[in-house]
């Protein structure tokens, strides 16, 4: 079965939520919508305190090429603007809207002949909808779909690997909306002028593979392939390697080897945007973990606070010690539940204190090479961590520090329990690439 070299097999814990259908969460009373939910320049606010907005209304416009607009997810009144805490810790310029409960939308237009649209129009629609990579990287999708002329893209790969433990959002989406996802893929292929599409799905989701295969049956140019279960199968470069056999060189983009990878959630959002003109104002979020009373997959309005999500799932169990936004391997721990769900939030996990790994003490590197074996980028993470620890940042850079994409496989296997990812990030913050 195809895969990449390296990688690990963490306990996947997907049984907690994989059989829970996506449920729609009632819009909360109040949403906090950050103006920067994507890589690149923050959106520029177009509303002021006191303005009435409808769901889907633009709150901020994209500033520059690598940027994305932000839309209101509810209808109501803007009650505050300013810096509000975000999951990453640092406060971010946001718009707070009080929900009037009417759920009034800006007019949306169904366009059944969306497959006939020219690529530029598709891109324009995607851009206007504020769609970004919803796997967590939050790179503006319209940019990804506008490769420069000299880069010939010939294959689109849908990322159904969802290799992070606990997370089942994409999994559910593939089971429940396979047709729409495949349509989304076809839109992307059309936008890029590509006639080869793959859907890579890890082998531990046979139901999703089946559903997607059924949905893709009419389209011979689309192939659904099962991949070996291995973390980080869902990382762009790893997925491309597994599916197409191509290796993306260091610091190059997938389009340099002619490939574009899209997340399942993003693809679904693209379908909705191109077909209905619907902006990205909601997404599927897995709320899971041993410290959540009732793990669920929720369809959530962007800007909903994490507290509301957790309440929807029955609240935290006693002993919850760590709450993570995203997966346990690459997500970040949050210190406050009063932070909003953003376009990149794929999951909210609550882990209990008992059995939790504590990263406060760690030993010296004993050079066991486990990290070297599992590093999907074929680096020497242990050495990088020692360089960072001792302040030899330039040496770390010379050992390809910046090729690391912080998947955490090394730290997972490290017997000395070294916080390798943190040290790598530390070193990256100390030297210029």
């Amino acid at each position: 079965m195809p895969t990449f070299a390296g990688g690990i097999h963490p306990p996947d814990k997907k049984e907690l939520s994989q059989s829970k259908p996506i449920t729609y969460v009632k819009a909360p009373k109040r949403v906090v919508i950050p103006l920067r939910q994507h890589l690149g320049a923050p959106a520029k606010a177009t509303v002021a305190v006191g303005d009435d907005v409808k769901a889907g209304a633009v709150l901020g416009t994209a500033e520059g090429f690598v940027s994305a607009p932000v839309h209101s997810s509810v209808s109501g009144k803007v009650i505050a603007t300013g810096e509000f805490p975000m999951a990453l810790g640092r406060p971010i310029e946001s718009v707070v809207i009080e929900n009037d409960g009417k759920d009034e939308w800006v007019p949306l237009q169904d366009d059944p002949s969306y497959m006939e649209l020219p690529p530029e129009v598709i891109r324009e629609k995607i851009k206007a909808a504020g769609i970004v990579g919803m796997g967590g990287a939050t790179f503006p999708t319209a940019v990804k779909l506008s490769p420069p002329k000299e880069k010939k893209v010939d294959v689109v790969i849908l990322n159904g690997a969802e290799c992070e433990p606990y997370l089942t959002a994409d999994h559910r989406l593939m089971i429940e909306k396979p047709k729409e996802v495949i349509e989304g893929l076809r839109i992307i292929m059309r936008a890029l002028g590509v006639n080869k599409g793959f859907v890579g799905i890890e082998d531990n989701k046979p139901d999703a593979i089946e559903a997607m295969q059924n949905a893709a049956r009419p389209w011979p140019e689309i192939r659904v392939c099962a991949l070996q279960v291995k973390y980080p199968q869902g990382a762009e470069k790893m997925l491309i390697k597994a599916v197409s056999g191509r290796e993306v060189p260091p610091r190059a983009l997938p389009m340099d080897v002619g490939a574009v990878v899209q997340n399942i959630g993003t693809t679904y959002a693209i379908y909705e945007a191109v077909r209905f003109g619907k902006p990205l104002v909601e997404r599927v979020v897995t709320v899971s973990g041993e410290a959540i009373k009732e793990p669920k997959n929720l369809l959530v309005k962007i800007g909903t606070l994490v507290t509301d999500l957790i309440e929807e799932c029955g609240g935290l169990l006693n002993g919850a010690a760590k709450v993570i936004s995203g997966g346990p391997m690459m997500g970040f721990a949050i210190s406050s539940l009063d932070v909003p769900v953003t376009k990149g939030t794929s999951g909210i996990l609550a882990l209990p204190g008992s059995g939790l790994f504590h990263a406060d003490t760690f030993g010296p590197c004993i050079r066991c090479s486990r990290c070297v074996d599992v590093c999907p980028m074929a680096l020497n993470p242990g050495l990088l961590s020692v360089f960072a620890e001792k302040g030899h940042f330039e040496d770390a850079k010379a050992h390809n520090l910046f090729d690391c994409f912080e998947c955490g496989s090394c730290a997972f296997v490290c017997p000395s329990k070294r916080p390798i990812v943190q040290l790598v990030r530390f070193a990256k913050s100390m030297v210029k690439p």
Binding site: L88, G89, R90, F332, A333, I334, S335, S336, H358, A359, D360, E389, P419, Q422, L423, R425, F426, S429, M430
Partner: protein, 351 residues
């Protein structure tokens, strides 16, 4: 007899060695002349200051290489010569300009007093004990994002061992060791360290630009921007900007008035023991000092020699400045004021 024995040996020896001498002498001289290379005069100077033993202890390939390196690169320390020790290091430093001219010493000042017991933490941090790494996890665990993180990066990078961490998890700067090299300032990720002239000893030890109410919530000793210091300062040194008081070190006279007035204790006084004012015999008992004293330390009956309550006095020097006969001494500005008065007198006399 002995000489007779030695003679044949001597003969051969001298002939052989003399020949060698001629050969090498001419060889070296010609080589030196034919292949002369222009060099930087500084390199030559350094080279002459070095021992010339080419021992390699500096890690460079001999004295010439080290001289070239130390002149060419600012990163090469002037004290690498082991046989030369301190004396040579000094010379090399002077030649290469790696030792700055004498000027007022500067010390690192920590602009945060929010230690373990006074500042609120927003979460439990687990990971690398280094501020620069800790800030990568949720922006640091202090609720106040302007506060010292307390993981001792400054202490780690200090080349002189001048910074230690207190029980409060705050850095303490030992000014006898601090050289003002700014390594800590550069390393601190929240920029809570400022390197300031040694004489500036009254500083607002807080960087919080949060609203007063938020600052108070996060920290007991933060600047809440109340403006009290601005009001009380006789020299207009503090000013307010974005909820934070900032003392202009060019105006500040270190009188220490604001220190006592600050409601949260955010202003830190680095003077270990403040001078206390005392009244000299030429007091005329005018009572002006009583009126101007901000802490009610001065007083006494009119027309009689006043006294100053040493327990209350903060040595701010306002009374010294206001006293018409320069009868109050002991404050920080006393010598200055006396000198000015003297000059005035002389000017008057000469006129």
């Amino acid at each position: 007899m002995f000489l007779h024995d030695a003679l044949p040996v001597l003969k051969f020896t001298l002939a052989f060695l003399g020949g060698l001498g001629v050969f090498f002498g001419i060889g070296l001289a010609v080589a030196a002349q034919k292949f002369a290379v222009q060099t930087d005069p500084k390199v030559e100077q350094v080279r002459n200051a070095l021992p010339g033993a080419n021992c390699g202890a500096c890690g460079f390939a001999g004295c010439q290489s080290y001289a070239e390196a130390v002149v060419a690169s600012t990163g090469v320390a002037p004290n690498l010569c082991a046989p030369g020790k301190a004396a040579v290091a000094e010379q090399v430093a002077l030649i290469t300009g790696k030792k700055a001219e004498a000027k007022e010493p500067e010390f690192a000042r920590i602009m945060c007093q929010g230690g373990k017991s006074s500042a609120v933490k927003k979460f439990v941090y687990e990971g690398v004990k280094d501020c620069r790494a800790a800030i990568l996890a949720g922006g640091g665990d202090k609720a106040c994002r302007y506060g010292c993180l307390g993981y001792g990066t400054c202490a780690k990078v200090c080349p002189f061992g001048a910074i230690t961490m207190t029980d409060e998890d705050l850095p303490f700067v030992d000014i006898t060791k601090c050289t003002g090299c700014r390594k800590c300032e550069a390393a601190c990720p929240v920029k809570v360290i400022e390197v300031l002239p040694a004489s500036k000893e009254v500083l607002v030890a807080c960087h919080s630009k949060d609203k007063g109410i938020d600052t108070r919530k996060n920290c007991k000793v933060g600047c809440i921007g109340c403006g009290m210091c601005v009001k009380v300062c006789p020299f207009e040194a503090p000013s307010m900007a974005s909820n934070l008081s900032r003392i202009d070190i060019n105006k500040c006279k270190s009188c220490g008035l604001c220190v006592g007035k600050c409601p949260t204790g955010a202003i830190k006084d680095y003077i270990p023991q403040r001078p206390k004012a005392f009244v000299k015999d030429n007091c005329i008992g005018c009572n002006i000092c009583q009126k101007v004293c901000p802490v009610d330390a001065a007083g006494g009956e009119l027309k009689k020699k006043h006294s100053i309550d040493q327990a209350k006095c903060i040595g701010c020097g306002i009374c010294t400045a206001k006293c018409p006969v320069q009868a109050i001494d002991g404050t920080f500005n006393a010598p200055e004021i006396f000198q000015a008065a003297q000059a005035k007198k002389e000017l008057k006399a000469s006129a």
